[in-house]
Amino acid sequence: MSYISIKKLWKSYGGNIVLEHVNASVGKGEFITIVGTSGCGKTTFLNMLLGTESASKGEILLEGALIPDEPNEDRGIVFQKYSVFPHLTALQNLMIPKELESAKLLCKVFGAKRKTIAAVAREMLAMVGLEQAADRYPHELSGGMQQRLAIAQALMKRPKILLLDEPFGALDPGIRKDMHKLILDIWKKTQINVFMITHDIKEGFHLGTRLWVFDKVRHDPDAPNAYGATITYDIPLGKCDAQIYNEIDTSLEQSRKELDILETTL
């Protein structure tokens, strides 16, 4: 049986259909990268996996059970920004998951227990290369360091799925490469299921084991919102070549044009 199955998923807001007919099944440990034009419902899809939005029709199953419609420890998330807590230092940011676990009412732990938690957090900091920055606040860290911290924080509770919503979108190309290495290392070590949205198709090809392209199959030029997007390409990576890359690029052209028209009319 598949680890995550997505069955006839639809999402609409009033008359706006965002996603339609999304069907997929994902095995344990797959690293799925998701690309598509902006506004095609990638983030909506990720939010449904996360539990902050619920499906209009259809369902998402995790290990055979309906995925809860509010965020929980099964699903870690890294956003493009605001992912870490600005009022906590790097170390405190990594301590808080375990603190919440053992102090349900006080929300803080003290003494020997605190030392144990701090030790675990320091280990994690070292793993993402931030041991020097333990006592710094997020605003004292660079964008790349903040995202490293956010990834580490998302992993503290050992979630089943790691969701990444354009996590490297705001970073410089050089730093982005380091981050790619980091996320691949983590994925290999933990064998966690990853869903990563990116607007960079090359990044999508480079990182995942499987690439999904979200796009509209049907277009109505008079009513751009009448049809939703779905998975138009589902490519196992490793086997891809330049031809597929170009094919996807041209296939997205239509949606891009439509988007341009929408933007100019707005």
């Binding site: 996360l50 965020p71 503290m156």
Partner: protein
């Protein structure tokens, strides 16, 4: 040499201090000038006393025990006023913090309370001062209550807005690391709202002083506002003017203290919001 646009010219440190002092000095000079003119015409003029007269009077108010009660009046007035002000502001801050956060964080609370708070905040507090005197008597409680009623609605509404402004990403992140509602409030929302509470309190201090002076003017036996309104009957500008300056100084010190407290306790907040003096 090319001259920069006016909007791009920045004063040096010395120039900034000098420019900042200039209006103060100008005010003093203008006052002295008019005071001299008036006193020359009529040495008994009470409207614009000279600085030496004000100095003598304040010396008496501050350092000579009152003939009637044996108290140092300035000290008694200051302590009484500060006591009421701080108590009122503290209670308001506590209520504002509690309900601001609850309203901001819990949609079910917001749906119930938010319209009520909005409606309450529209009542002019001075209009219900008589009710307070009737219900709580003429003692300390009614004066503190006036401050509380005067600034709490603003604090609740402001802190509710600040809570709603926290990035949703953080609340979601907290849930994905296993936080329940209580834990989200205690570890994510409360610590981030605390420095914003200090900002809101600083903004509401002016209003708090207004209500304090008003309450003291109407029914009191000591306090800075009481004294000003008492000596008004004798046209004692030599007491009123220094008292007003003293009140302004106290207000400035309180504001400065709160700002210092904020930057000491919440260094991350200053960086995030840019230092708003």
């Amino acid at each position: 040499m090319l001259s920069k646009r006016l909007i791009n010219k920045k004063p040096s440190v010395v120039a900034r201090v000098a420019l900042g002092m200039l209006p103060f000095i100008a005010t003093l000079i203008v006052y002295m000038w008019f005071s001299d003119i008036r006193l020359e015409a009529n040495p008994n003029d009470k409207l614009m006393p000279s600085f030496s007269t004000m100095g003598d009077t304040m010396n008496r108010m501050a350092f000579v025990p009152s003939k009637r009660s044996g108290e140092y009046l300035l000290l008694v007035d200051t302590l009484a006023s500060l006591n009421r002000l701080l108590l009122g502001v503290f209670i308001s801050a506590l209520i504002g913090l509690t309900f601001g956060i609850l309203n901001g964080a819990i949609p079910l609370m917001r749906a119930k309370l938010s319209p009520y708070v909005t409606a309450l905040s529209l009542i002019p507090p001075m209009a219900i001062l008589p009710i307070l005197f009737i219900v709580f008597g003429l003692g300390e409680v009614s004066k503190v209550m006036l401050i509380v009623i005067g600034i709490t609605p603003f604090l609740i509404r402001d802190l509710q807005a600040r809570t709603l402004e926290l990035p949703r990403e953080q609340l979601i992140k907290a849930q994905t690391i296993g936080a329940n509602s209580w834990q989200v409030i205690v570890r994510v929302i409360l610590p981030q709202i605390m420095p914003r509470l200090l900002v809101a309190v600083r903004l509401s201090l002016g209003t708090a002083w207004l209500f304090l002076i008003a309450a003291e003017a109407i029914a009191s036996t000591e306090g800075l506002g009481y004294r000003i309104f008492l000596v008004r009957r004798y046209l004692s500008m030599d007491v009123i003017l220094p008292y007003v300056v003293w009140i302004a100084l106290l207000a400035f010190l309180l504001d400065w203290l709160l700002r210092e407290l904020s930057s000491r306790l919440y260094p991350w907040f200053q960086a995030q919001s840019g230092d708003k003096p």
